[in-house]
Amino acid sequence: MGRIVLVVRLVLADVRRHKAQAVMLLVAVIAATATMALGLSLGGASQTLYEQTREATAGPDVVALVPDLGSPVAPVMTLLAEAPGVVAHNGPYRVVYATLTAHRVASLVVVHGVAEKPGVVNRPLVTSGHWVRAGGAVLERGFATALGARVGDHVTISGRSYPVVGIAVTAATSIFPWAPGIGPYGGPSDGGGLVWLTREDTRALASQGLPVTMALDLKLRDPDAAQTFIEAQHIATRVSFRTWQFMADQDTVMLRTTQPILVIGSWLLSFLAITGVAALAAGRAAEQTRRAGLLKAVGATPGLIAAVLLTEYLALALLGDALGLALARLAEPAIASPTASRIGGVGGPTGTVIVATTTLAVAVAVLSALRPTLRAVRTATVSALAGTTRRPRHRPWLTALSALLPTPLLLGVRLIARRPGRAVLHACSTAVTLIAITNLLTYYAEPRWGFAQHRGGWGPGLSGLPDMRADHDSRLLLAVTIALIALATVNTLTLTWTTAMEARANMAIARTLGATPAQISAGLSVAQLLPALPGAVAGVPLGILFYGQIITFPLFWIAAAALAILLATTALTAVPARWAARRPVAQTLSAETG
């Protein structure tokens, strides 16, 4: 009991004393776990959304699509509607391939000719306005959102103007822009929006000579056996089947590149979190070791000391994990459902996601706290109290080599020689930043075929719909990259500051020997810049490797980014270095010996 009080008290007191470090660990863990939770929840989220929409709209288990190529379609449809295992059906109804323009924006669409009173299967849910009536069109919500159309607007479908009387969602098609399922004449689809018109209006539209496909929605006795049902149908005419499982799966295509961005982003964020927190922890290692020594002297066992040191990191990491999960929960609807084609809420993180992010958070805490903890536990009490632990190793060849260099470089190289591990951390941190930036730039440079586009172009005064998927992904990629750059910036500041604080006695001595404050701060900057250089060089190919395939490689921009990072490093290190170098020499020296 008393020992728990003690551990809690020591942890709280230390957190209070080192707020900046606690905040940094917390923020880093929140960023990493939130990103990971989002990345892992996406698949499940779109599945949940589809199922909720299917529930609300009496979604069919199978949709059969037969292109109307002149030969009679009705017998096939009758056969299917009466096939064993079918309990209810909707249709057959016309699907007309048309073009819609509104607000000078054009898009491919499919028009479903529907009854003014929907049947038992496939009852689209009207979210605003009302259902179709003669001369009035209802737009699918995802499409309407992309188009910016509202109830009361007018849209032109293949030359004829219709007022928008309602907006609705359905589970009988995939989300925008994959509503068509199959293309005209049974060919491949370029995607398109979904519009509902009355049967008569649709027939009138089709009479313009537009391609038509007949569709039939089926409700099965055993929805889970939809695939088995399809395989049991042997019909001469070419019929395309869409099971509800297939459509649900198609929804996740929207997130196919989103997921890697988030998951890989979360790895990179975790890596930077470990780097930054480890640098901070290393900077405090001497102090922690001394603290461990005096706790040992009053009778704390090594186990208790390890508990105190690890609990602090673990508690913060778990707090960060919880906050990260909460943040992911808040951001999930926006990120998991980029189109408005589905209704309902996302379920929140599942057990697997919680386990994964918690593992990540614990790993960050343990990896960054392990070395200082082990050192503190292992150091003999007497030397821990005397503060004589872990002097930097003497590296004669580096020292000799650096003697040939100009003063700032000499100081910089000697600073790196004091703590080579930290230089490696900094190089890795720079490399990670460049990996993210390379990915972002390459993604932007890649040419894209927009959504629901006409292959021949749209003609003067008209433009296509934006590529929502690319927009969504590039926004996320940008957000992840910004988070990475922010963490890397904090890391650079931390590393410089830690180096400056540790080397202050040596730097003060260098100043008594005649080094100017400017030379000292230049030396500190060099100590950070030198490792950043190989980091930047390694980051570019690694970034390309992460991206996978390259279509266009914006070499100029990537080189510019690498240069910008090195310049930014110099600028960032200059601030703490300058501050540290300007401290009065006597004050530093007396603080060291006191």
């Binding site: 009080v5 007191a13 706790l295 007497v382 109290l385």
Partner: protein, 246 residues
């Protein structure tokens, strides 16, 4: 024979620092017995091995050879964990540099060993307030070490050393960082402990601190060169110091 138990006993104690050519014998075949209730001062020039001896007695360091017995138990063979448990129960350390936990208040520092020993929070708090009163710092209980003077910090450290009613208090240059006034405050506490029968071993180079002890051992080059009993030999010298006609 002597019926008083030895609080601390060492036999053939050797401690080497370093190895090979640079090896230094900090403690060289030392035998010592400190009976319960005795206050012992160890004096000697710097580097004579007196601090190392103290660390060996408290189990902070392990001897190269020989035996260390504390409270009738041999401690030089114990594991680090067992040593820590023994320290929290039987040994109170006072250091020259105070070694208080900087982020804990004075009272919390004093509660530390009691909590380590698994006592309840209330018990630890009660004991800490008694000890703070004993060292005259009741009004400073909520201060952080950085808000206290050197003398006050050392008194807190002494209170902390006493938190678990240890068998022996080991003090390493307890007044080394203190001015005369603060030294007198600390000496007053030591004198108080001595008269209360607390076993106390003080390593010091200050004759004045040494003179509070019942017994004085002088060390040189890791060996004992003198062992003097100071107590019980009052000569009335002080009263005769001044005569009206003198």
């Amino acid at each position: 024979m002597n019926v008083v138990n030895a609080a601390v006993r060492v036999h053939g104690l050797v401690k080497n620092h370093g190895r090979g050519q640079g090896r230094v014998r900090a403690v060289d075949e030392v035998d010592l017995e400190v009976p319960e209730g005795q206050t012992l001062a160890v004096m000697g020039p710097s580097g004579c091995g007196k601090s190392t001896l103290l660390h060996l007695l408290g189990g902070l360091e392990r001897p190269s050879e020989g035996e260390v017995w504390l409270a009738g138990r041999r401690i030089d063979t114990l594991s680090e964990r067992a040593l820590a448990r023994l320290r929290r129960r039987s040994v109170g350390f006072v250091f020259q540099a105070f070694h208080l936990v900087e982020e804990l208040s004075a009272a919390e520092n004093v509660e530390l060993p009691a909590l380590l020993a698994g006592r309840s929070r209330r018990e630890a708090r009660r004991r800490a307030s008694l000890l703070l009163e004993r060292v005259g710092l009741t009004g400073r209980a909520r201060h952080l070490p950085s808000q206290l003077s050197g003398g006050q910090r050392q008194r807190i450290a002494i209170a902390r050393a006493l938190a678990n009613e240890p068998l022996v208090v080991l003090a390493d240059e307890p007044t080394g960082n203190l001015d005369t006034t603060a030294t007198l405050d600390v000496l007053r506490i030591f004198e108080d402990l001595r008269s209360a029968g607390q076993t106390l071993v003080i390593v010091t180079h200050d004759e004045r601190v040494a003179a509070t002890a019942d017994r004085l051992i002088s060390m040189r080059d890791g060996m004992f060169v003198d062992d003097t009993r100071l107590a019980g030999t009052g000569t009335g010298w002080l009263g005769g110091l001044i005569g009206l006609e003198g």
